[in-house]
């Protein structure tokens, strides 16, 4: 099944214009300290949204 295939051309989206993350961005995604800060911030955002909706 995975040898020679006779498929019709498949219209894969051209992503050549999509931005690629640089090395600094990729490292930041897995930096434990900064990611912990983002974890706290994200969950605070959620709580703010929940509290605000509870007030309505």
């Amino acid at each position: 099944m995975s040898e020679e295939k006779t498929t019709t051309p498949v219209p894969v989206l051209d992503l050549s214009g999509a931005p690629m993350p640089n090395v600094k961005t990729l490292k930041a995604r897995y930096n434990l300290l900064s990611q912990f800060g983002k974890f706290v911030g994200f969950n605070l955002s959620i709580m703010r949204m929940v509290v605000k909706e509870g007030e309505h």
């Binding site: 995975s2 051309p9 894969v12 989206l13 931005p19 955002s45 949204m49 909706e53």
Partner: protein
């Protein structure tokens, strides 16, 4: 004594039942009717599907929880609703057929004073020829069992890759009107992550096949985020991830037929294509459950209570109108059934007025339009608000004001896993506010101050935390009600 019946024990039904029990005294009866004996934290089925979690970690039996909480549980499916009762009794009734509790196949008619219709979707695999686990071709992650089967097939594919045999994997939507594109996105990147961890990514070609017209649509028309001083679209943001991970997107698709080796699909331009595959996870479209409705004289009133999709009509504006005339106010607020002030439909079970994303058709007339998602958080919020409405109606009276939870005023959190690992996992952590865009209020449709999306390890930690928190909450452990929906 009031009798409240909840049909369904998914995120919506179970949430409604727990809040009803918590807020009502034991003098009132709460009954849950569900064909499943287990509760499933569906967002984590993705991880079952890539063998990162066993099935047992995403399900637990409902009966002990309901017993502990004083909720009656009938393991049965609803087959008909009789909102005006029958010749014997004018109280509303539901016809049920047992699926367990040693009574499989037996039928009964149960009465209610208040009904919460939270049945969730019917997984309509039959809408596409050859789709789904039963047909033996493609897999699914919609249920824990499906996800386990997917993990076994994926493991077999990875084994072939390790032997040096190139493989083609396809993940996405199996029909032009699917929803849950977020789940397909998650599974795609979890598969990518597993292939990389196995050291075989270079031999695998991974496609993402979706009915979204653009990447990042997610069935909600996409989002705009403020990032680094610019307004960024979710399309650009997701395209970046696809390019980074070498996942090949095919957008605007409707799958017509699937065989054991080939996916035949149409794209928005009306062209037909064949894609040979070795492994595929394609989600089914949803419809409402096959529940009928009858009046007291046994006349069929299904068409009055339910939309053609099979979902229950509620307080939405169902007037047919073109996309350009859609408004946020078209969407329901109280989820009360049309014509019956003691029936509500929540979660996936209510009929949306229309899509959120712009609907499209190919030149052949094929509808390729993502259906609107009703994700976990909004489903839980709707259910809690309906429970509070019912409690007030019981305690205060029938004139008690209904609580409102419109999707056009409610935000939602979506965390789409892109691979597991406490130090090397990631997820796209998104907040969209509101779920249904309101272009009259916000130029981009949503509040830019609170709508955000970012990919990182913290997203994985967030999804993991939600996994533990929501299973704790669903088991009704001490303090469960303090965990927000």
């Amino acid at each position: 004594m009031a009798e409240v019946v909840v049909l369904g024990a998914g995120i919506s039904g179970h949430t409604a039942a727990l809040h009803l029990r918590r807020l009502l005294g034991r003098g009132h009866k709460v009954t849950v009717v569900s064909p499943n004996s287990n509760w499933n934290w569906i967002p984590s089925n993705i991880w079952v599907g890539v063998s990162k979690l066993p099935k047992e970690k995403v399900i637990f039996p409902l009966a002990p929880v309901y017993r502990r909480k004083g909720i009656d549980f009938l393991q049965a499916k609803a087959t008909a609703i009789r909102p005006k009762g029958d010749a014997q009794d004018s109280r509303g009734a539901v016809d049920i057929e047992f699926t367990g509790q040693n009574k499989a196949g037996q039928t009964d008619r149960i009465r209610y004073d208040y009904l919460v219709y939270a049945t969730g979707p019917k997984l309509k695999f039959e809408a596409t020829e050859g789709l789904g686990p039963d047909a033996g071709n493609t897999t699914s992650v919609c249920t824990a069992d499906h996800a386990r089967e997917a993990s076994e097939k994926l493991a077999a594919t990875i084994a072939k890759l390790k032997e040096g045999t190139p493989q083609t994997l396809v993940v996405g939507t199996g029909h032009g009107t699917c929803t849950c594109e977020g789940a397909a996105f998650e599974y795609t990147f979890n598969v990518d992550h597993e292939l990389r961890e196995a050291g075989v990514r270079d031999l695998a070609t991974l496609y993402y096949m979706t009915n979204e017209a653009q990447l990042g649509d997610f069935g909600v028309g996409g989002m705009t985020f403020n990032q680094n001083g610019f307004e960024t679209s979710s399309e650009l943001w997701t395209s970046s991830l696809f390019r980074e991970r070498d996942v090949r997107p095919i957008v605007g698709t409707h799958v017509h037929k699937i065989t054991s080796s080939t996916i035949n699909f149409e794209t928005l331009d009306g062209e037909m294509h064949d894609l040979d595959y070795d492994f595929a996870m394609l989600l089914p479209p949803f419809s409402g459950q096959p529940v009928k409705a009858f009046d007291a004289e046994d006349n069929d009133i299904t068409g009055e209570m339910f939309a053609p999709s099979g979902f229950m009509k509620v307080d939405a504006d169902y007037t047919p109108k073109p996309y350009e005339e859609w408004k946020a106010s078209d969407w329901p607020s109280t989820y009360q059934s049309v014509g019956y002030n003691n029936i509500w439909a929540v979660g996936i079970a209510f009929a949306p007025p229309h899509q959120i994303s712009q609907p499209r058709k190919s030149p052949n007339g094929t509808v390729i339009a993502p259906a609107p998602p009703r994700t976990g958080m909004p489903s839980g919020v709707m259910a809690k608000h309906v429970a509070m409405t019912i409690v007030d109606r019981i305690k205060i009276g029938s004139k008690a004001k209904a609580y409102e939870a419109p999707l056009s005023k409610m935000g939602a959190v979506c965390v789409a896993s892109a691979g597991t690992g406490l130090t090397n996992g990631s997820a796209a952590a998104m907040i969209m506010n509101p779920v249904v865009p309101d272009y009259a209020k916000y130029p981009t449709g949503r509040d830019l101050a609170t709508t955000r999306g970012e990919i990182g390890l913290y997203g994985h930690w967030s999804k993991l935390m939600l996994h533990y928190l929501f299973i704790y909450k669903a088991k009704a452990r001490p303090g469960w009600q303090l965990i927000p929906e």
